[in-house]
């Protein structure tokens, strides 16, 4: 398959978490063509995940990294993926993502998002971080925005819609946020790309 952007073949993109955000980001980026993905998740696919995450019923029970690798290879057999089945913490984050040009923060819990973004920005010197805050519920598509916070931090989301009673995560709105994220990753990489 011809990648959409040949310019991205030297790029490495990290995806921290393979849930609703991460599984959609991984599929979109595989179709778009960065050279290498570093995907990280310790969890297994559950039946409840199928309402918004890019897995299939026959993959319930598999580790998400294994199931995702299977799915990405069905899209693009030559996709280069480094998979880690670990729980990320401030101790292992710098090593896991050391080679990444950009990392997509695809966690679920707010305190874990904070931990990941803070660690990436403070411990890695050049990696750009694309994080997400506020994507729960349905409708209000245009409230989800992409905003540059600082040279190395881009934030996606509406900033306020957290998960809670009566505010579920839904495939369409999570997908909008995930594709904002994938789109920002591509934008960053194409801005950084130089022909030498």
């Amino acid at each position: 398959m011809r990648p959409v952007f040949f310019e991205l073949q030297q790029a490495t993109v990290g995806i921290a978490g393979l849930g609703g955000l991460g599984s959609n980001v991984a599929v979109a980026l595989t179709r778009l063509g960065p050279g290498r993905l570093v995907v990280v998740d310790f969890d297994c696919v559950e039946a409840d995940n199928l309402n918004r995450q890019q897995y299939f019923l026959d993959q319930v029970g598999m580790h998400k990294v294994d199931a995702m690798l299977e799915n990405l290879r069905r899209i693009r057999p030559d996709v280069e993926v480094v998979a880690h089945k670990v729980r990320l913490d401030p101790g292992n984050i710098p090593a896991v993502f050391a080679d990444c040009d950009v990392v997509a923060e695809c966690f679920d819990r707010s305190d874990q998002k904070q931990m990941l973004v803070e660690t990436l920005l403070s411990r890695l010197a050049r990696t750009v971080v694309v994080s997400v805050s506020g994507l729960a519920g349905y409708g209000r598509s245009n409230a989800i925005q992409t905003r540059r916070i600082s040279p190395r931090h881009i934030l996606v989301g509406d900033g306020v819609s957290g998960i809670g009673p009566g505010v579920p995560l839904t495939a369409a709105r999570v997908g909008i946020a995930a594709h904002h994220q994938a789109n920002a990753v591509i934008e960053v990489l194409l801005e950084q790309w130089s022909p030498d």
Binding site: G20, C106, F107, Q114, V117, S133, I163, V174
Partner: protein, 70 residues
């Protein structure tokens, strides 16, 4: 009245007192320390240093608040 630029908007503090540290600023704004990433003049401030990082008049501060869901 002393002011800070927070998330791109000027924010005035009544009574001539600026919060002394990032931690005091977050308390004044009633923001949970566990779910915010703070950048002061483009520099990331780690959560463990919120209490010891001073705030000065005229600084530009980004407070990114994370809500759950992903």
């Amino acid at each position: 009245m002393p002011s800070l630029r927070i998330n791109g908007t000027d924010h005035a503090f009544p009574g001539d007192t600026l919060p002394a540290t990032v931690a005091e600023l977050l308390n004044a704004l009633e923001i949970d320390h566990a779910t915010v990433v703070a950048e002061v003049d483009g520099q990331i401030v780690e959560r463990t240093r919120f209490g010891e990082t001073p705030i000065r008049e005229g600084q530009s501060i980004e407070l990114v608040r994370f809500v759950g869901g992903g």
